[in-house]
Amino acid sequence: MFDRHITVSRTDDPGLELPAATRDRLKSRFPLGAARRMTQLGMIVGALIEELAPTGEDALIYASSYGETRAIEEYLASFPDASPTLFQTSIHPSAVQQGAISRKRSLREFFPLAGAPAELIAPALSVAMTNPAPRVLLVGGEERGTWLRELGLASERTYAFALALDRAPASENASTVLGSLTLSPSSAEEPGALSFSQWFDLLHQRKPWTGEIGSGWRLELRWST
């Protein structure tokens, strides 16, 4: 059984917001001029990570089923004269790297995951909860695609979340504990009942949840406020 306290929880739910609107909304959160070159996913993920006040010794676990959808779409459109900028932007986990590089913020451990929307949260939590770092940042998100979405190969909505997970906050900081996560091995092998977007909605609405999440794991999410 693995336990972590949730000490920071942030979500962004822009839904159908267009990238240009996201840029206007969030550009002040990045170094001058940086947002001009960032993707929508990079901006919403990067802005939330900054609210966690990351340090170089935090472990960052990042999950996204589809990753840099729009960069992939535009990169493919650039053929046969492939765009070097769109190529590097399309590579997972560019969304996190865009913000971190703009701030020159190094990280010791960084685990970027992919996975089907119905199956992603179990491995993401197992990576986060088995990491030995005192503080683990669990971050994820999707951006709404265009033609790939119409083919069922991209997210319908844009959203992102960021959690700071601590092992044992000092007693003087107990008031900062927002909730907790308990992950337990389970004999259930089939995919669980918690999709990636449902997980986001639980965090966004701060709702508790208990049950099988698939891949042999059971989750208990509790909120103290």
């Binding site: 070097p84 990280l107 990576v127 088995t130």
Partner: protein, 372 residues
């Protein structure tokens, strides 16, 4: 400072294998040992762009996406011993690592509008197709962190075993080339008409790309080899270049060097053939492991991208078993450091090997491999 794996117990490597343009792990080791490169000049984007670049492909097919993709036809045959056997169940989970997955199929669809490409284009769909073909259960974790991805799979697998939540872990990686990735590296101008010469001083750097797939089975107690001192560092300095002082390489390797305890090592570097990264990497190796011989094999097999860490681990294991280490295929003097080994050498006299990979974003990974 956070506990790193280098302070945690080691883990056993029970078995490994790979598939490259040469063939399986034994054929790849033999090919490298002979000094023969598997790289051939090929059209960078198949029929759409005839510019020639060095690619090490598994077959004579041009870089043209097929339905099903080349990797989907090749992997279940090459790794038939991994089919079923309870892999993908909670006690025997699978970790799939790649940087490309089936993304070439998206290029195939964009070019032809044939919907037959679509079931393979998104990373999780490609893994689902692989999982079905390999008869694996759903306990599968997918990592994607460019060219250090395979190292993340080894590290997470180690943690699952050390936490006691798994009995064995299969780490599996595949990266087959496509116009999507070859076109991208060509656009960045680091893939060009020249063949790669890792760690060689010359005026213009170049890389070669290669098809690659590999696996490693990790166990707490079974296996003749031990993986330890797994180290990762992400400098986040620039999307495609490193801190000019080499501190990113040094920070990662320091963790491994601190665990040597007097053991004599040789070094399996990343060595793609780019000049700046090659100089920084070889200098960091020379600083952390003075006089240890350094080899890089991408002049022979090409850069197998997110799979390179696992592919080159399988070759390393083959070399350790045969006690003969292939040299740096394709390179000649002058080299960036005097410790670069161009010719094969005997493994006798060494206790362990440091295996390292690097990636976009200034990501670095390394570990120590030794006989138990």
């Amino acid at each position: 400072m956070a506990e790193s794996l280098s302070t945690a117990p080691s883990i056993r490597l029970r078995e490994s294998g790979c598939l490259t343009a040469y063939g399986d792990a034994t054929a790849t080791w033999q090919g490298l040992l002979s000094g023969r490169s598997a790289l051939r000049l090929s059209a960078v984007q198949g029929p759409d762009k005839p510019d020639l670049v060095p690619l090490a492909l598994r077959s004579d097919d041009a870089l043209f996406e097929t339905i099903p993709p080349r990797w989907h036809r090749a992997l279940p045959v090459a790794f038939a011993s991994l089919r079923g056997q309870g892999w993908g169940t909670p006690r025997r989970p699978v970790v799939v690592t790649s940087s490309n997955f089936g993304v070439g199929s998206l290029h195939g669809y964009a070019r032809s509008k044939d919907p037959g490409h679509l079931p393979y284009g998104v990373p999780f769909d490609s893994v689902h197709a692989l999982r079905t073909a390999m008869e694996w259960g759903p306990s599968v974790t997918i990592f994607s962190h460019a060219c250090i991805t395979a190292h993340l799979g080894l590290l997470h697998g180690t943690r699952l075993l050390q936490a006691g939540v798994a009995d064995d872990v299969l780490v599996f990686s595949f990266d087959f080339l496509s116009p999507f990735v070859a076109g991208g590296f060509y656009a960045l101008k680091i893939l060009n008409a020249d063949f790669p010469t890792p760690y060689q001083e010359r005026e213009i750097g170049s890389i070669g790309l290669g098809d690659g797939a590999a696996y490693a089975v990790l166990s707490r107690t079974a296996g003749d080899y031990r993986i330890e001192a797994q180290s990762i560092y992400n400098e986040m300095f620039h999307a495609t270049s490193n801190q000019p002082d080499g501190s990113g390489f040094a920070t990662c390797l320091r963790e491994v060097a601190n665990q040597l305890r007097g053991r004599r090592v040789w070094l399996k570097g990343h060595g793609t053939g780019t000049l700046e990264a090659g100089r920084l990497e070889s200098a960091a190796f020379a600083e952390a492991f003075p006089s240890a011989p350094l080899v890089g094999w991408k002049g022979g097999i090409g850069h197998t991208l997110g799979s390179c860490g696992l592919v080159e681990l399988a070759i390393t294991l083959e070399a350790l078993k045969a006690r003969k280490i292939p040299g740096t295929v394709g390179s000649s003097r002058p080299t960036m450091q005097s410790t670069v080994a161009l010719e094969p050498f005997d493994a006798s006299g060494f206790d362990a090997v440091v295996c390292a990979s690097n990636a976009f974003g200034g990501a670095h990974a390394a570990f120590l491999l030794s006989h138990v």
